[in-house]
Amino acid sequence: MLKIYRILFLFLLGCLFGWKGKATVKEALVDLGMENVKVAVQAGGVCIAYEDNVYRGTYRGLFEVIRTLLDEPDIADENIQLAVLENGIPQIRVSLDREFVSAYRQGRLSLAAVMKGLAISYDTDEVMKALKGTKAVNRSAGKVDLVLYPQVRLQNSWLDKIYGAVLDIAPAVEIGLWKGASFTGQVIFPVWNNLVGEMDYIRAGMLVVRQEIRLPKNVFATLSVGNFNQDRIGVDLNLLYHTNSDRWAFGLSGGLTGASTFYGGRWEVTQWRRVNGSVLVRYNEPYYNLRFDLSAHRYIYGDYGVRGDCSRHFGEITVGLFAMYSEGEVNGGFHFAIPLPRKKRSKHRAVRVRLPEYFDWQYEAQSGPRYTSRRLGRSYETRPDENRNRTYYNPDFIKDNLVILAEQSK
C-alpha cells in the first residue's frame, strides 16, 4: 500500500512539474538563448540538456543557467542534472544537489558555495539516457552564424624582409545541420600582405561538413570532410576519450588529404594521397589549470615526430609553450588564445553576425631552411574556431570559474 502511495505521489509530482515546472524551465532557458533544450523529470530530480550558443566560452552560459534555475521560484528544490551540449552532443554533466538548492534559496548558502558543491563529470550517459525521447525546443539546426575570423600570419624566412606578413579577414558561414552535424563555409579575403602568392587572392577557406558523435564511455568522434587549412583537402577522423574527471584524455586522429592550392589565382586540388595521424595523451592538472599534451605524429608530409605542449588556462585566456621533434629537427614555440568581444551574442536573429569567440595564434621558431623546404611538422585544422579554449570543459576548470563568476556577481 505504501508503495502504491509512493508511486502515486511521484506521478503527481511529475505531472505537476511536467505541466508547470517543466514548461517554466524550458521557457527560462530558451529566454536565456539556450538551444536544443530538453527537460525530463525523474524520481531523482530533473534532467536538463541545453546548448549555449549565446555566451562566450564554456562556463559563462552554464553559470547563467544555474543561476536562473536557482532563482526560478517555480522550480522545486530538486536534484538538478544538467547536460551541456555542443552542436547537440553532450559534453559534461553538472549535478546540483537538492540540498544545495534548498540551502541557497533559504539563504544559508552563497551562490559561490553552491558552485563549489557542483559535481561535474564527463560522464553524461545516465542523464542523456533519462532525456532520451524528450523533444528539444529552440533547436539549433538551421541556425546560421556569420563569423568574421581575423587571420594574421607572420613569417621570418626571407633575407629581403624582416617579416612576411599576411592579414586576412575570413568570414565563415557556420550552420548546424542536425545532431552533431555542421557545415562551415569560409571565404578568405586578403586585406594586406607583403608576400606574393595565394595570399593575394580571394580564396576558399574552410569548407567542411562535419559529423560529431558521442560514443558510450566518454568517447567523442568527429568526422570532417572538405577543405581544411594549410592547403589541405580531404577527410579527417578524430577520436578522443576523456576520463570522467578529465584528468586524463587519450586521442587518436587520422587523415587522408590532398593539396588544395590557389597559386596563380587558380584553385587546384590534388588526389588525396597523403596520410597523417597522431596519438595523444593529455593530462589536466587542476590546481593551476595546466594542460599537458604529449602526442606522436605522422605529419602531413610523411615525417614522424613527437610534440609536447604545456598550456595554462587563465579563465578565458590560454597561453602555452610547445616543443616538437620531427625527422631530426627540433622546433618549438608558443601559442595563445584570447577572448574577443563580446561576452554575449545576439540570440534572436536569423543570421547572427559576430566575431569568433577567441583569437588564437601559434608561433613556432622552426629550425632552418631544411625545416621549411621539407615542410616538417605540418598539420592542419578542420575548423576555423579550433583553439585550446573551445570545448574546454575540464570539470575542475569549469567549477573554478563558476565560483569566480559567483563571487564576482555578489
Partner: protein, 411 residues
Amino acid sequence: MKMNKHLVAGMAICLAATVGVGLSSCKKDEPTPVIVENPLDAEVYYIAGKVMVGNNALEGVKVTASNSEATTAADGTFQLEMTSKNDYVVTFEKSGYVTVTAEASFPSDAKKQSVVSLVQELEEKNQPVTVTPDAGSTVIEAKRQMVELEFPAGAVKTATDITVTAYKEGAKKSQAGTVRASLSTVSCEPDGQTFEKPVILRMKNPASNSVYFADVRHYVEKNGVWNETGTADYNGNGYYMTTIDGFSNHSFGVPCSSQKGTSKTEDLASVVIDNLGNMDSKEQAIDVTFHLGWKIDGTTSDLLKKQLAGLSDSDVTALSGAVESSLASLLGGTQSVGEMTLKRDARVSGDMKATVSMIEKTTTTVFGFPVVFGGQTVALTIPVVKYEGVDLVVTTEKGASHGSHSGGSGE
C-alpha cells in the same frame, strides 16, 4: 524542417563537389616550385664589342681570346664568352686586313656575367709597292699619307714588293703611370724583311713647326710586345725621324702619362621577371643595351686652346687629330660612343622574382702628352671618359613557398 531539407541538400551537394574534386583530380601531388638554374647565375664573363672599318661595321672578323672565338656579325658586333676574370689578349683577324691585338681585362671585383666592352678599327692593307735595289725610292703610306719610308739604293738585294699600312692599335689595359701612346703605327710587310742599308722611317708632323710632340720614340713590335729601339725626334722640318733595318710593325710612340680619375656607375635599366606565386619556372629574354667607346671630356680643340694659348687654328685642328689618334692607340677605335645590345636568357624558378639590373661603368683617365710649343715643353692634359662595360646584377626575391632561413613563423 523544410529549411533543413534544403540545407541538407545544399550541404550534400557541397560535400559531393568537394569530395568529387578531390577524388577526380588528375594531379598526384601539390604544386611545388620548379627549381631551375638561371643562366645569369653562371660564372661567365664576356668581352663584347664592335669592329669597324672607317665608319662602317666590319663583318666576318675572327675574334679570339684564350680559347674563345667569335666572328663579327653584319653589324660588326661580337662577344666572347670567358670562364674567368683574367687579363686577355684579343686578336682581330680578317683576310686582307692588318691583324690587330687588343687587351681586355676584368677587374677583380667584376660581377658574374659582366661585360667588358671593346671597340676595334681594322685597316685594309694597302696595295704593295715594288722597291728595287738599283735606285733610292720613297714609299708613302697610301691612305693617311703621314708615314714615309725612304729606301736608299741597295737597301734591298732584289726587287721587293712591300706593303705599308697605317692602322689603329688595339686598346691597352688601363694603368696608371707612363705608357706608350702611338702617334702613328704602321704595318710593314713582308714581316721580317731586312735591309742592306738603314731605311729612313719618318712621320709627318701635321702641325706647324711651332708645335710638336716631345720625346717621340721608335718602337718595334715583336711577338706582340712593343720594344723601344731609339728616338724618333722631331727634325724641326716637319718630320719625326728614325731609321729601321728591317720590317715589322712600327710605332712612333710618345711617353704619355696616365692618371686614373673617377669611376662612375650608372643604372641603365632593370628587368623584373616576376614569377612569384607561380609554381612553374619562367624564361625571359633580356636585351642588355650598353655604351661602348670613349670620348674626350670636353672638346679637344678647346682643351688645346686653353693649354696652349696662342696656338693657331690650323695647328689646333692638326694637333687635335694627332692627340685623338694617339689616344685611340690606348683606348681602341676612334673617339665615339655607340650602343650595343646583347641578348641574354634568364630563367627564374617557381615562386621567385628576379631583378636584373644593368649597371654601366665609366672611368675618367687624364692623359698627359709632352708637346713642345714656342720652344717650351708643355704637358698637355686630356681627360678621357671610357665606357668600360656593363655588370649584370641579379637579385632574387623568394616567394612564400621558399625559405632562406628560419626566423620563425606564426599564424
